[in-house]
Amino acid sequence: MALLRVSRREWAALVGAAMIAAAAPAWAQDVYRVGALNPVTGAGSTYGSGMQKSIYAAVAEVNAAGGAGGRRFEALAEDTQTSPEPAVLAAKKLIEVNKASAILGTWSSSVSLAIQPLTQGSNTILMHTSSAPTLFSQNVRNLGWGFQSGSKYNGRAMNAAVKNEGFKRPAIMAFNNDAAVGNVNAFKSAYEAEGGKIVASVVYEPKRTSYRSELEKVVAANPDVIALSGYLPDTTIILREAYELGVNAKFIIPGWAAGPQLLQALGPEVSEGVLVYESVPDANSAAFKRYSEAYQKALGSSGEDNVFAAQAYDMVISLALAMEKAGPGSDNLAIAKEIRTVSSPDGQKVTSFAEGKKLLQAGQKINYEGASGPLDFDEDGNAVAIFAVSAITKGKYVRSYVLN
């Protein structure tokens, strides 16, 4: 019958394919693919390479311990360019072509928000370091996990810092996106819930050549502190213009808008007294030391400078422990459900994948204490981080205190 006529060439292809398929189990156990989708270029490039290398280091650690739930990890690297469009293309490629089951380490909320519908539509696990409120309010089936504290916690941290410093007339300036505006709104509700009042509030647009009018509007309300929620370039311009205009109010900015480049651009005189709040890893924990060693080896600099890389490292370990807990052959929904349970406070404390795997196989409850923090996830899938406040003093970041 013509229906089943197969040419010689097609036979050859078929036989070849069958041989490859038959050979595969001989050299590999089952593979669980994760996409390391990080900001290697663009505004997040300070962190992206470190995040990607840390994911690879953690994957190697998991595989060295015999894999998780009977599966070996395989990481695939992609660059988000810190921009939603290339990030979506890369995520599509990872999910549809590479068959990645999880996407790890997206930075900046605009990127994570753009990817969220794709991962939710394909039951892919998304682990990110973004803080936009909708990432958590629209999180379904436990597929999304935020390793960086969300707006709610950033707002609380700002509030605690402002209280601690004794400021009475705070004003707000926010970069116009979901995360930055979410952060200052959370600060506003925390501050005003305790009877205070925000004296002025401005949302500014990205990529302007000057923010003088925005600054002058806020300063007209005579604030004693300006909570500035933005990114490095706009923060640099605003702080410099504030100095030039003789603004007396102090500034409090997030850690991701600070860093060595800010100091280099502003110099000691302009940056003096700027307060920085940021989530910090627990540098004394065993997981942090293991991560830090891998980071030093891969990048030649201290892992302490890149809290997002510590979070990326933890993503792999958390995911691997959850896979181990869910057992061989579990699907993503079953795995996602266990991410919270392997680091819940009532389990036995573990600080590495190998240690956790052993206890899980012995049927015990575990609590992974990560490199980036204790990783106790709230009901929305957001890890609650430790925050600290630094003050820029004579051109250096000087850690002042840890917030509770």
């Binding site: 270029t41 000057s210 100095y243 030039e244 003789g246």
Partner: protein, 292 residues
Amino acid sequence: MLALAPYLNLAISGAVQGLVIALAALAISLCFAIARFPNAAIGDMMTFGAYVGVGGQALAAGSIVGGGIAAVLATTLVSVLTYLLVFRRLASKPLVASLIASLGIAFLMRSMLTFILGFDQQTLRVPVSRAMNFSGVRILPIDLWLGGLALLVLAATFLLLFATPLGRRMRAVAADMQLAQASGIRSGRVMIALWAVVGALSAAGGIMVGIKTVVTPDLGWDLLLPAFAAAVLGGLGSPVGAVVAGIGLGIVQELASPWVGFTYKIALGFVALIVVLLVRPEGLFGRPELVR
């Protein structure tokens, strides 16, 4: 005076913001008048100039003047090269070929800058100083310097265009290329002069933006839209129009911000653009015959 001060501050802020894009708008307008296509590579030419400025400043022991001179020289060279290697060959083709080629050059330049230097922000260092305060009206010394620099560059460009034989030839080519050639003007030399001026203006614009903000690979590309808006509003092909429209758009945007807010002030600039073009399609200073 007191009630007026906030508005004067807004107007000053707007004028300075307009001034930094005026040079780019002028480069676009000149390019359109003489080479007859909208050159989308001018934004990235500015970026290139700003980066050469950063490198030149480092080499010149921190001198911003040294950085600026290096930027103008290098960008002028690259601009002339883009003409010799690309745009000259496309001159006989439809406008869209040159436009697409300029987009390609823009992407190429940005990608190369990013590939070699990365995305980290760089800084053009100038001494930071406090504003002078005249009963609430604040004037930044740096803005005066930038304004002076822009005026100097503009004056030099206008002198070249309107007071030298070369400028006369450039304007002749702009008015009618074939007639100019028939009159014995060697249009090749005129074009090289044009592309040199476009490069120098882009570099000066890039340096000014770099001083006012920070130097990133997106510096010029992000300003391309407002610069084009200014060039179109001023009347494509009109050098005076480009500068006046650039500064005017800046002032209108800032003065409107108390009413429309800081988000929609940007849209307002484009609303002004649309209104002017509806009433006067050739732009504020344009002559209809310039755009055939």
